[in-house]
């Protein structure tokens, strides 16, 4: 704990003196407001960005907003993305850099109906599995390949109704979100079978903060400030659960989203687990070389990535 405080103080000292005029910055999240981004909203709400000399504008994401497009079009300075997405873009030539890795473990999972006789992944052979598009399919597809099975993929939008009504045998889900949605729709834990990618060799770190290389070059201090303020926001969020849920609920209501506090509490708790896995606070914000290498290797194998991506050019966050 003492060490943590020391580290925190050092981080604060590393922040350069704040100029009189706040430096404006914008950040796009990869999805709609929810506790998945509680740290960002709390940093904004508690003035941590301002404290770090940044006048932050957070742009909520959504199904029709692609973060990399926003960065590319300079509609946002910073954005959050899955590591796999960002690596793929980098490989495709976009000059994306990671300035801080927030989520260390994969929350992606497969949920199957226990009464459909699914005991292992191979039981999904020739079964319908609803899956989100793009990066969400990377890990499941490898898993199916490794298991040597052929599944019928049904595109998945945002609702779990396909799965809940039995139209598909299994579905992709995020542990912090849809898993709880399913339980909140009247299924018992023993009525579903879960497959966590965090327990497989395809445990991909997920949400990280990205910007264009030129942004980092021009405004390195702002990038550092954004990361540190965000991490401070997360620390605050985990320490002040109820206040955080209030703030998240406020942003959700502004976005006309259904607010379910129980669900958001579940999400916040799960985010804590994957942002600071095993209580390892030193991991916060750091992209681990090994995890990165794992993602790159898989993407290369899958031919999603055609050229090697270098860790040190890609990752510009705090040293491991």
């Amino acid at each position: 704990m003492k060490k943590a405080i020391f580290l925190f103080v050092v981080c604060l000292l590393l922040v350069p003196s704040v100029p009189a005029e706040a430096r404006k910055a914008s950040l796009i999240l990869q999805w709609l407001p929810q506790a998945q981004f509680a740290g960002f909203y709390m940093a904004l709400e508690k003035g941590f960005y301002k404290d770090h000399g940044v006048e932050m504008q957070i742009i909520p994401g959504g199904p029709d907003k692609v973060v990399s497009d926003y960065l590319d079009a300079r509609k946002a300075d910073f954005g959050t993305m899955f590591l796999s997405t960002a690596v793929e873009r980098r490989g495709a030539g976009m000059s994306l850099v990671n300035i801080g890795q927030i989520v260390q473990n994969s929350a992606l999972m497969l949920i199957a109906r226990a009464n459909d006789g699914v005991e292992s992944v191979s039981d999904l052979n020739h079964k319908k599995v609803s899956m989100w598009a793009n990066e969400f399919q990377i890990q499941p597809r490898i898993m199916f390949q490794k298991a040597g099975i052929d599944v019928e993929i049904v595109p998945l939008a945002s609702s779990m109704d396909l799965f809940l009504r039995g139209a598909v045998t299994a579905t992709t889900a995020m542990y912090f979100n849809e898993y709880h949605t399913i339980l909140s729709s009247g299924l018992r834990e023993d009525e579903i079978k879960t497959f966590f990618f965090r327990d497989t060799p395809f445990n991909f770190p997920e949400d990280g903060i990205y910007c264009l290389e030129e942004t980092l070059k021009q405004r390195p201090m702002v990038a550092l400030a954004v990361l540190n303020a965000t991490l401070a926001g997360w620390r605050y969020a985990f320490a002040h659960e109820e206040e955080t849920l209030d703030v998240v609920a406020k942003y959700m209501a502004e976005a006309s989203l259904p607010v379910n506090r129980v669900h958001q509490r579940w999400m916040l708790t799960r985010m804590h687990e994957i942002i600071i896995p095993d209580g390892d606070i030193f991991a916060a914000g750091v992209l681990k070389r090994r995890a990165f290498a794992r993602v790159v290797r898989v993407l290369l194998q899958q031919e999603i990535l055609r050229t090697e991506v270098d860790y040190s050019t890609f990752y510009r966050g705090p040293a491991e």
Binding site: L162, S185, V259, N260
Partner: protein, 642 residues
């Protein structure tokens, strides 16, 4: 024990029992009517629910039919895109319950160059409009309304959603997949949908009033609330997330039953205001939807409570009236009893002429009064009799006392006697018992040298014994003065007494004659206790002669025995009044005690010896009632030398 009047006892009993009965009736009434009311409440809410369900069915069935018909029509590939578009539009125009309708095709389903084909006709304030769905921002074939029908292969109602574009109403969509035969295979082509507004349903459900504050709610296939008085639950929460948040497993199970289309009726606290309520849930005709009613228990029971309260009030008033009546009647009953008891107290205090209360009731109390009157006069008569009898008894007793005095008077009582004779010392005493007894003693000179002394005890008590004693004494004296031997005296006296002794009385006697000059004593005994001889050498009983009692039978013979008293020796004669004196523990004085006591009395003179024995007997008896005469006679021979 504490005294309690009859009134109190009667009142306590009657009122206690009536309270029990009243209580039992009230409780039974409460329980029974509650059960009836619960049943009624359940039936009412059920029929209300059926009404809502029927209404919903009436609303949606025609729409379902219309959508299905269009789907059927679309299985014919002859329709072109314009015809399809106008078909859907006409349905919207002709059916005001349909908010919008889409016919959506699979990618490239209508033609190989069209990724999207989904004409959408919908209602606006300015009439029905038609637009095309689909685009990079809206890939409709990934939407639930499309995918559910496609993947499930059957018509479905989607989860309700808010239609943002229009009037922000809660909508749900009915989707029916349609297929075409291509190359002999049934292939999925697209879906037909109809959107309906649920505003009317929400309104209808929210306007349901059950009792005062009861409410209704609707949940969907996922348990999502789409109608609930707590606004923030609507579309935000499911029954399950609510149950999780509240830590309420029962609620979770209820939610599960609801989405499984089950019906239930139970009692639990309401979510809205945590009031103990009845909950009824039942399925709605849209798959997995459930309608529930909650109505507070206290409102349901309000009438029963009022009924019970009024019953209690009436019962309480009745109780008061009953109390008054019981007190009045018991006082009425006990008044004559109390009056009688007052008179009885006066009678008990001696006022036999106390006036009885005038009781004329013909019941047990009347009987008691009559019996009481009879008792009073009987007591009076008895008292009169008793007074007379007592007077008679007193007279008899007085006469007896006089007789007794006379009887005692015939015994020589003047001591010291024969003081002119220095040769002997004589003393006698009789301690009469209360009742007249028959002890006797006598002593007299037969001639100048012979001194006769005797003692006796007549059997029985009372006047006959007294007479017998007097006769015996007289006879003895008369016979003894003839100078015959003691044995002859007894024989003569026995014969005289036994003659004409019809009452079969008898007497024990000891007769002795002392030769004053020599100290020789001739003696005979008729069954009398052996006298004690006190000699210088010791104290002993004379040897008993074992000869019969006198007066019982004629012709008896009696032996005359003889002994010689040395100067200083003493003969002590006594009756069984001495040896059979009793103490309070009913123990006898006994011969043994007498002989032991007398061992120390050799030196005493005649009088002091008797006084000592008398004291010993008194000490022994310790104040116990004396039942027999105690008679003693002592003769101490002093010899010629003196």
């Amino acid at each position: 024990m504490k005294r309690r009047s009859l009134t109190v006892k009667l009142a306590a009993l009657v009122l206690g029992i009536s309270t029990l009965i009243l209580g039992a009736v009230l409780v039974y009434n409460l329980l029974f009517s509650q059960a009836v009311i619960i049943r009624l409440a359940e039936d009412n809410s059920r029929s209300l629910g059926r009404e809502v369900a029927n209404h919903l069915a009436a609303q949606i069935k025609p729409i379902e039919l219309a959508v299905k018909n269009i789907a059927l029509a679309l299985e014919d590939s002859a329709l072109n895109s314009r015809e399809i578009t106008s078909l859907a539009r006409r349905i919207v125009e002709g059916n005001e319950d349909v908010f919008g309708m889409t016919v959506a095709f699979e990618p490239f389903g209508i033609s190989s160059d069209k990724l999207f084909f989904a004409p959408y006709s919908y209602r606006t304030d300015s009439g029905v409009k038609t637009t095309s769905l689909g685009g990079t921002g809206y890939r409709y074939f990934y939407m639930d309304w499309y995918q559910l029908a496609k993947e499930l292969g059957c018509p479905v109602w989607t989860e309700p959603y808010f239609e943002e574009s229009g009037a922000s109403e809660l909508m749900t969509t009915y989707s029916v997949p349609f297929y075409r035969l291509e190359d002999g295979q049934r292939r999925f082509i697209g879906v037909v949908t109809a959107d309906i507004s649920l505003k009317w349903l929400q309104h209808e459900v929210s306007s349901i009033k059950l009792y005062d504050t009861g409410y209704a709610l609707i949940t969907t296939h996922n348990g999502t609330f789409i109608s609930h008085p707590v606004e923030e639950l609507v579309l935000n929460q499911t029954v399950f997330s609510l149950a999780e948040g509240m830590g309420d497993q029962e609620l979770w199970e209820i939610g599960r039953n609801m989405i499984e289309g089950k019906t239930g009726f139970l009692r639990r606290a309401s979510v809205r205001d945590n009031k103990e309520s009845f909950l009824l849930y039942m399925p709605l005709p849209i798959g997995g939807w459930s309608l529930a009613f909650l109505f507070p228990v206290d409102e349901v029971f309000a009438d029963v409570r009022e009924l019970s309260r009024n019953m209690l009030l009436i019962g309480g008033l009745g109780f008061l009236v009953l109390t008054g009546a019981v007190i009045w009647i018991s006082r009425k009953i006990t008044k004559p009893v109390r009056d009688l008891s007052d008179v009885a107290l006066q009678i008990a205090q001696g006022n036999l002429d106390a006036k009885l209360p005038d009781i004329r009731t013909r019941d047990e109390v009347g009987d008691l009064a009559i019996a009481f009157g009879e008792m009073q006069s009987s007591i009076k008569e008895f008292i009169v009799d008793l007074t007379e009898t007592t007077a008679q008894k007193e007279r008899i007793e007085s006469e007896l006392r006089i007789g007794r005095d006379i009887q005692m008077g015939i015994l020589p009582k003047i001591f010291p006697a024969f003081t002119e004779y220095a040769e002997f010392d004589i003393y006698a005493s009789v301690e009469p018992a209360k009742e007249v007894g028959g002890d006797l003693y006598d002593f007299f000179l037969v001639d100048e040298n012979h001194f006769c002394f005797l003692i006796g005890d007549v059997s029985g008590k009372g006047v006959p014994a007294a007479f017998f004693m007097a006769v015996t004494k007289t006879l003895l004296k008369v016979v003894a003065e003839r100078g015959v031997s003691p044995g002859a005296i007894l024989e003569k006296v026995n014969n005289d007494l036994a003659e004409d002794n019809e009452s079969c009385m008898f007497v024990t006697l000891f007769v002795a004659v002392l030769d004053i000059r020599t100290g020789e004593v001739n003696y005979a005994s008729a069954g009398h206790n052996p006298p004690v001889l006190l000699e210088n050498s010791g104290v002993k009983y004379l040897k008993p002669l074992n000869e019969p009692l006198a007066g019982a039978m004629t012709g008896m013979t009696y032996t005359t025995s003889s002994l010689t008293l040395k100067p200083g020796d003493t003969l002590f004669l006594y009756t069984d009044g001495v040896t059979e004196a009793m103490n309070k523990a009913d123990e006898l004085y006994t011969d043994e005690r007498l002989i032991v006591f007398m061992k120390g009395l050799y030196e005493n003179d005649a009088k002091s010896m008797i006084e000592a024995v008398n004291q010993s007997v008194l000490d022994f008896s310790g104040g116990a009632d004396q039942s027999d005469d105690i008679t003693m006679l002592t003769l101490k021979y002093l010899g010629m030398g003196k």
